[in-house]
Amino acid sequence: MTQRETIQRESDGAAAPPAERRLDVVSVLFRFQSMLGLVAVFIAAVLFSPHRGAQILFLTSENLFNVVRAVAEIGIIAVGMTFVILIGGIDLSVGAVLGLAAVGSAVLMVENGMGVVPTVLLVLLIGLVFGLLQGIASARFGIQSFIVTLAGLQVARGLARIWSGGQGVAIAYGDGPGEAPVAFSLLGERTFNGLVPIPALIFVVVAAAAIAFLRVSVFARHLYAVGGNQKAARLSGVPVNRVKIAVFGISGALAALAGIVHAGQLNQGSPNDGAGYELDAIAAVVIGGTSLAGGRGSVVGTVAGALLLGVLNNVLALNNIDANIQLLIKGLVIVAAAGLQRLRPAL
C-alpha cells in the first residue's frame, strides 16, 4: 500500500528532488509545445495587425470568432485525422468525402424534399460507412491506408459528381418544393447575441468530445497501443483490426459532418468542394505534434495546429498580402512549426 503510494507520488513528480526542478520546467514547456507555435503566431498576428484608430483589428472579438469559423471545417476533419494518424495511418479521402457530404445535403433536401434531421443523419451515416469500408479494406486485406484512401478519394469524388449531375446544387430556403428547410440555414449564422458562429461552436464541441474520449476511454488506450506497436498490441489481446476499422469510420463521419457545415455556410453543395482539405488537415495534425509514425499525439495539439493555420491565414488576409506570397509564408511556417516538434528532449 505504502509502496504504491510512493510509486504514484513519484510518478506525479511531487517527490522529485530539487535538482530536477529546472528539468521539469523544460519538460512542461515541451508538453505544451504544440501551443508554443500558436502563441508565437498569435503574438506576431497582434504585432502585424492593421489598426483602425486605436483598435487592433485582429483582436476584435468579431475577427477572432471569424478565425475559429474559418478553421471549423478543417478543424473537424483534422480531429478525425488525428485518430487515424495516431494508429500510424493516413486518410486522404476526407476532402472528397466532405464534397460528397455537401452534395448529399443539398440534393437530399432540395431534390428529395427531406427534412433537416433525416438529411443530417443520412449524410453522417454515408460518411461513417464510407470510412468503415476503407478501414475494412485496409485492416482486413492488409493494404496501406495511403493507397486505400487515395482510391477512396477518387471514388467519393466520382460519387459526388454522379449524384450532383456534375455541378453545384444551390440551396434555396423556404417551404415550397425544391427548397430546403430554413432550419438548415442556421449553419451560416451566429448565436449568443450574434457573436459565435455556429460552425465554430460545432468545431469546439467536436474537439472537446474527442479530447474527453481520448482521456477516458478504453478504446483510446487500445488506439495508442496499436499506433505505438501493433504487434505487441495484437499479442496483448487488443482487437487491432476493430480499432483500425473504427478509426476510419470516425474520420469518415467527421468529414461528412464538415461537409454538412460546408453546405450550410455556402448554401450549396458542389462535387468539387473540399479539394485539398486533407492536406490542410494533415498539416494541422502534424503542427499539433502528433507523430506520423503513430502512437504519440493529441487532439489538443491538433486544435492548436488548426488555429495556428487559421490565425496565419487571417492576419495575412487582413494585411492584403498577395495570395501567392501567402502560400509561401504558410509553407515556411508549417515547416518551422513541425521543426519545433523535433526539439523534444531525448529520453
Binding site: 477516458v216 488506450r221 506497436n229 505487441a232 496483448s236
Partner: protein, 528 residues
C-alpha cells in the same frame, strides 16, 4: 605497464537520469592490449558507462583521459576520431542495403569521377568479412542474413574504423559456437595489435575465455574487480547480484492438478507457405495445472511456431490435430480469443512484439486488462493503477514511477513488465518463448522464482527455451522438438543437460541433423 598511461582512463564517472542514479563515481580503465570485461545485471550501469565513453552521453560527472590527456567528447563523432568504436547491442543496420553499403555507410570510398567506388568498397568488405570469418557476397542485402551473420557484419563495420578501443556490448548473443570462436580469434588479433577491448556479456564462460580483467558494476557502482582467468562463475554472479546464488532455480514444485492443455498430433498447414519457418508437423504434449513443461529444440525446430499456433498468432486455424483446453477442444482465432480462453503469451522479443517502448509502464502493464476492468468502455484509473502497481511490486521492477516510459528500463525490467501484463490476466495456461533471453543473472533468478510461484497458484506453464540448463533446472517435464515433431519426453528429475542436448541434436549426437551454423553448446539456437 604502470609507466605508460592506459589507453583510456575514466575517473569518478557519474550520471543521473531523473531520479535514477545510473552511474556513481565509477573508475574504469582499458590498457593497450587488454580485454576488460564489464559485468553487471541489467540496469547496473554498464550501458550508461559505455555510452559516456563512446560520446553518446555528454552531460556526465567525472573525467576521461586518453593516453593520459584529458578529453571531453561533444558527441559520438568526437569519440570516433579519438579511436573509440562501439558495437551496439541492438543491430543498427539498414535492412534493404547490401553488406558493403552498410559497412561503408556515410564514408563510401570515392572514385576518380566523384561517384562511389563500388569495386573498392566490395573488395574491402570481402577482406573484413574474411577477418570475422564469414563468407558472404558483399552485395547481398543485410535483411537476407541470419541474425548471427548480421551481428558479425556489425563487428566487421566496427573493425573497419581501425579503432584503438573497441566496445563490444553482448556481441555473441546471436552467434553460434563456431562463430563465437572466430570472434575470439579476432579479439586476440586486436589485442596483439595493441588495441583495447571492453567486453560486455552475461556469459561467464566467455569472460573466462577471452578477458584479462573483469570489473563488476552493481547499482551504478564498481563492486568488485577480478583477474578474469581465476574468477569463478559463482564469484562473479554473487558480486553482480549482491547475495549468494544458492537458490537460482525453483526448489519447490507446484502440486500437479487437472490437465489444462492437451495437444495431439498438431501439424500446421498454412495456406501460403511461410519461408524461414519450421511448421509443427506432429506435436503431442500435455500440461497440468501447477506444472512447468519445457519445450527444448534448436532454432528451426518449431518451438516458437508451436507456441504461436496455440495462442492463435501467426496463421490462426490453419492446422490439423487436436488441442484441448481444460478438456474442451479449442481453435483460437487470434490472440484476443486466446486470452479469453484463458491463455497468456510472453513473446520472444520484448522490444519488437512485447512492448510499446515509448509508452508508460502503466499503459504497458495494464494493456491487456484495461477492457476487462472498464465500465461502459471507460477506463477506471484507480483500479488500473492499483493493479499495475501490484504487478510491478510483485515482480520487483526497478523504476522511478509508473509514468516512466518503458523503453527507459533495463532489459530485464522490460521483460518483467511483459510478464506482469500477462499475470494480470490470471491465465490458466502461460506460454513463454525464451523469456530469459538477454536477461541478466539476477533478473533470471527472479523470473524463475516467479514461474514457481505462478505454478503453485495452479497455472500450467509451457516454457520454450534455448538454454538447456534452464529447462533442466526449472521444468517438471521437458518435451524435445526436432524438425517440427515432438520426439521425446523427459519426466521429472530425469532430464540432464547432456542427455537433453543429445536428444535435441538427434539421438547419438549426430550434429549433421542441426541446421548449418548451429553447434552444440550449453545454449542451442539463438532464435531470432
Amino acid at each position: 605497464m604502470g609507466s605508460t598511461p592506459p589507453l583510456v582512463a575514466m575517473t569518478g564517472i557519474g550520471k543521473r537520469y531523473g531520479g535514477v542514479q545510473a552511474c556513481r563515481d565509477v573508475d574504469f580503465a582499458v590498457r593497450s592490449g587488454e580485454v576488460h570485461a564489464l559485468l553487471g545485471e541489467n540496469g547496473a550501469g554498464k550501458s550508461t558507462l559505455m555510452r559516456v565513453l563512446s560520446g553518446d552521453i555528454t552531460d556526465y560527472e567525472g573525467s576521461i583521459e586518453i593516453d593520459g590527456a584529458p578529453v571531453r567528447f561533444r558527441g559520438p563523432a568526437d569519440a570516433q576520431r579519438a579511436g573509440i568504436a562501439m558495437i551496439p547491442q541492438e543491430l543498427d543496420l539498414v535492412p534493404a542495403l547490401s553488406v558493403a553499403d552498410n559497412i561503408f555507410l556515410g564514408r563510401e570510398p570515392r572514385s576518380r569521377w566523384g561517384g562511389v567506388d563500388r569495386r573498392r568498397m566490395e573488395r574491402e568488405t570481402g577482406r573484413l568479412l574474411r577477418q570475422v570469418g564469414i563468407r558472404l557476397d558483399p552485395r547481398q542485402p543485410v535483411e537476407e542474413l541470419r541474425t548471427g551473420e548480421q551481428q558479425l557484419v556489425t563487428i566487421g563495420k566496427a573493425l573497419s574504423l581501425d579503432a584503438r578501443v573497441l566496445i563490444m556490448d553482448e556481441p555473441t548473443s546471436a552467434l553460434s559456437a563456431a562463430e563465437v570462436q572466430r570472434l575470439f580469434q579476432v579479439i586476440a588479433e586486436l589485442r596483439a595489435a595493441g588495441a583495447g577491448v571492453v567486453y560486455i556479456s552475461h556469459r561467464m564462460e566467455e569472460i573466462g575465455a577471452v578477458a584479462d580483467r573483469a570489473t563488476v558494476l552493481r547499482n551504478g557502482r564498481v563492486v568488485a574487480e577480478f583477474a578474469a582467468r581465476s574468477m569463478t562463475a559463482s564469484q562473479a554472479a554473487e558480486a553482480m547480484v549482491g547475495r549468494p546464488l544458492s537458490a537460482m532455480f525453483r526448489t519447490t514444485s507446484g502440486e500437479p492438478g487437472e490437465e489444462v492443455l492437451r495437444v495431439r498430433e498438431l501439424a500446421v498447414r498454412p495456406r501460403r507457405p511461410r519461408p524461414g519457418r519450421r511448421e509443427p508437423a506432429g506435436i503431442t504434449l500435455s500440461v497440468r495445472r501447477g506444472e512447468i513443461v519445457g519445450v527444448a529444440g534448436l532454432l528451426g525446430s518449431g518451438r516458437t511456431e508451436l507456441l504461436e499456433t496455440l495462442y492463435g498468432a501467426g496463421t490462426p486455424g490453419q492446422w490439423t490435430g487436436e488441442v484441448l483446453l481444460r478438456g474442451r477442444p479449442v481453435r483460437p482465432r487470434g490472440p484476443r480469443h486466446a486470452v479469453r480462453l484463458g491463455l497468456a503469451f510472453v513473446p520472444e522479443d520484448r522490444r519488437i512484439s512485447g512492448l510499446v517502448l515509448e509508452h508508460s509502464v502503466l499503459a504497458n502493464t495494464a494493456l491487456s486488462i484495461v477492457d476487462r476492468i472498464a465500465r461502459f468502455g471507460l477506463l477506471r484509473r484507480r483500479t488500473e493503477t492499483d493493479a499495475a502497481a501490484d504487478a510491478v511490486r510483485r515482480l520487483r521492477v526497478k523504476l522511478a514511477g509508473l509514468g516512466q516510459p518503458v523503453g527507459t528500463l533495463s532489459g530485464g525490467n522490460q521483460q518483467k513488465v511483459v510478464f506482469g501484463r500477462m499475470l494480470l490476466l490470471r491465465p490458466d495456461l502461460l506460454l513463454l518463448d525464451d523469456p530469459t533471453r538477454g536477461v541478466d543473472v539476477g533478473a533470471k533468478a527472479e523470473i524463475y522464482r516467479l514461474l514457481g510461484e505462478v505454478a503453485r497458484e495452479g497455472v500450467g506453464i509451457l516454457l520454450a527455451s534455448s538454454e538447456l540448463d534452464e529447462l533442466v533446472g526449472v521444468c517438471d517435464r521437458v518435451i524435445v522438438l526436432r524438425d517440427g515433431r515432438s520426439v521425446r519426453e523427459f519426466g521429472t528429475g530425469e532430464a540432464r543437460a547432456a542427455e537433453l542436448l543429445a536428444a535435441v541434436m538427434g539421438d547419438g549426437g549426430e550434429a549433421g541433423a542441426a541446421p548449418p551454423g548451429e553447434r552444440p553448446a550449453s545454449r542451442v539456437g539463438g532464435g531470432t
